[in-house]
Symmetry: C2
């Protein structure tokens, strides 16, 4: 059976590559950049006033001038004035251009103004004080952001400041979440004792939306080969990624792998040496779509989604690989099976700034009520082994 | 001047309380729960088959029976069959009800089937093996989720499994982001040397969306008191929270605080002893809306948003307070001013699972190109002081 790392490699080799889209900058938050962003101009693009106050020629101050006639006002967004005389000054606002002939700003707290004259109260006025000089942050043409970056708020500000009204990013994958199983009944519908609530699909959709994926549809199929075939055929024609929940273990009614292969979806792997989530199935269609068939119990579903599917979606969008997040166990954990084990955890930070993963074991993989309040899960190497408090391993967040 | 902690208290005292909404469970991801969720039924609601295989009466196995006639098939979602005889068995699927008269499941890998008879290959069959017993996860009526919880994917699964088609959560605040300043020009529009790109509003909107806020509008006002007054009056009537970017420092053209007070917005505080972001202004209107006026330079804008505004929005939605995230500095950092200092950082995890905050100082608070790739900022106590490598303090993520 495959290890999780081998499964990662196979998924990476078979991923579809998502096309590039041009999006308005206001809608690009969380997207993966697919072009480089270069500085439109020097940054700041002019010598910029960094404090409200007066702009002056500092050589006048060095020559002993302490009282300066206020010649005018230079507001942010106005073209620059020109200082008329060395014993004059210009009232300036934060963000304004430094007026021609000036090389320093004295803050409003350090002057007294009376009858159109500003008296300087400060002990020193140095050239370029309180001036954010042109090009001091970056030069025109400098590489500001490179392709593969995920756009967080600072990167959005940077792209806007580079003058880009639209930006080339990866299109979001069109994903459909398909649950299966005659036993599932929608929340709110009458339910018989032998039936269970349809809950996995909601959790999968929620997780995808929390990660910023917006193009997420949702379907349900009964345990009926003809219906499964026709719905899956439709979804394969209309989506980039299918996420199936349930129907991939070894029972007679687990029809989905068979139907998928009949539909031309080639199995890349079925089963990984892990617990929970062993029966994970992954295949690719000739037309391109990738299919993840997740085991049907709720903990397995969420674990496989976070461990394999979400990273695969970001990779398909061209995101640069990010180093795995690691964390130390707050308590010893025992792994009895010779399988990689995923253990749900809650995170806490101690007074020394160290994050700890507090194990929140579930009562079998069908138990998900104990997942409330957990932040994700850690990945423990195959046992039998007991990993002590302080053991460091990979953390995956929901 | 206020400390950041004093500002936190004042904001908390003046927050509007957002109303409760009932949302379809499929749309509640990321929302803050405003009711308790109790178990609809025992969980599992019946003795549930945990493996594909055969169900049998384990007392028959103890009595030496190893070959069992396959009486029928019990699929998930079907009402339970009844075992006809102790030397019979029933084929069962994962998720199915355990048939009446059975108390154990032998997995398909441990049996051989021929001519309608299953031969058991395993060395032991124990009562209740591979059965997830009714009520073993939780009992009907048990408290599963409490009000104030933010709904992550596991909590969505739990609420769906509790049979809730709709769920009572906090309504999202209607937020408007208003930038100001004659110097701002939209990306893509022709720009003159003394003008700058409008970028802050995009970053604020991006940050709000990344935190899951969907009801976010966007406006821009010039430095004109009449226009500012009429736009702000409109926004105060139509939104829960106003976030103003720019226009709150001490200059003559910083009209916004004055106009806000004329419109009946009472100032709660103006200025916090911090860098960057000192001129932060906070007020509340008689009708209820809260107004944050953020300093206009890009780093200050993003810092004040993450440090004060986003936590305030979650508190207004009724989220239970979460303990502050803490982290250790990866390098010494010097704070020269007697002001709380916010230092942008990039996070890295070392091989021992310890996260470190790598300082990414900006070149003055107008420099935001160096924010690319940062994850947030740490909060350093007022100086003058040098904080050594390993110093632990609060982390705020963008």
């Amino acid at each position: 059976m495959l290890t999780p790392a081998e499964a990662d490699k196979l998924i990476a080799q078979h991923l579809p590559c998502l096309p590039i889209e041009s999006l308005p900058i206001a809608q690009a938050a969380g997207a993966v950049l697919r072009e480089n962003v270069y500085a439109e101009r020097d940054q700041p693009p002019f010598d910029r006033v960094a404090m409200d106050g007066i702009a002056l020629d500092s050589s006048a101050w060095r020559a002993g001038v302490r009282r300066l006639r206020i010649q005018g006002v230079q507001a942010a967004g106005d073209p620059p004035l020109t200082l008329e005389a060395r014993d004059a000054c210009i009232e300036v606002m934060t963000g304004a251009m430094l007026p021609h002939g000036c090389d320093a700003v004295v803050p409003v707290e350090q002057i007294e103004t009376k009858d159109g004259v500003a008296s300087i109260q400060s002990d020193v006025v140095e050239p370029w004080q309180n001036v954010h000089r042109r090009g001091s942050d970056s030069r025109q043409g400098a590489l500001l952001l490179s392709a593969g970056t995920r756009l967080s708020p600072p990167e959005i500000a940077i792209a806007a400041s580079a003058g880009m009204p639209r930006i080339r990013v990866s299109g979001q994958p069109a994903v459909v979440v398909v649950s299966s199983g005659n036993e599932l009944v929608e929340p709110g519908e009458p339910i018989l004792p032998h039936q269970v609530r349809r809950s996995n699909a909601y959790a999968v959709v929620a997780a995808l939306r929390r990660h910023g994926f917006q193009r997420v549809a949702d379907d349900h199929v009964p345990d009926d080969a003809a219906v499964i075939r026709s719905r899956l055929e439709f979804h394969l024609h209309t989506h980039d990624v299918l996420i199936l929940s349930g129907g991939v273990s070894m029972g007679r009614f687990d029809l989905i792998p068979k139907v998928l292969e009949e539909l031309g979806v080639r199995v890349v792997f079925h089963k990984i040496a892990q617990r929970p989530g062993k029966p994970l199935w992954f295949g690719v269609s000739q037309g391109g779509p990738a299919v993840f068939a997740l085991p049907g119990n709720p903990v397995s579903t969420l674990v496989c989604l976070a461990r394999y599917v979400v990273p695969a979606l970001f990779a398909a969008m061209g995101q640069k690989p990010t180093p795995p997040e690691k964390i130390a166990l707050a308590d010893a954990a025992t792994v009895s099976a010779p399988l990689t084990t995923f253990l749900p955890v809650r995170l806490e930070t101690d007074d020394w700034g160290r994050a700890w993963a507090i194990p929140c074991p579930t009562n079998g993989s069908g138990d998900f009520t104990s997942l409330a309040g957990t932040h994700g899960f850690v990945e423990l190497p195959p046992g039998p082994n007991t990993y002590p408090k302080g053991f460091v391993t990979r953390l995956h967040r929901w």
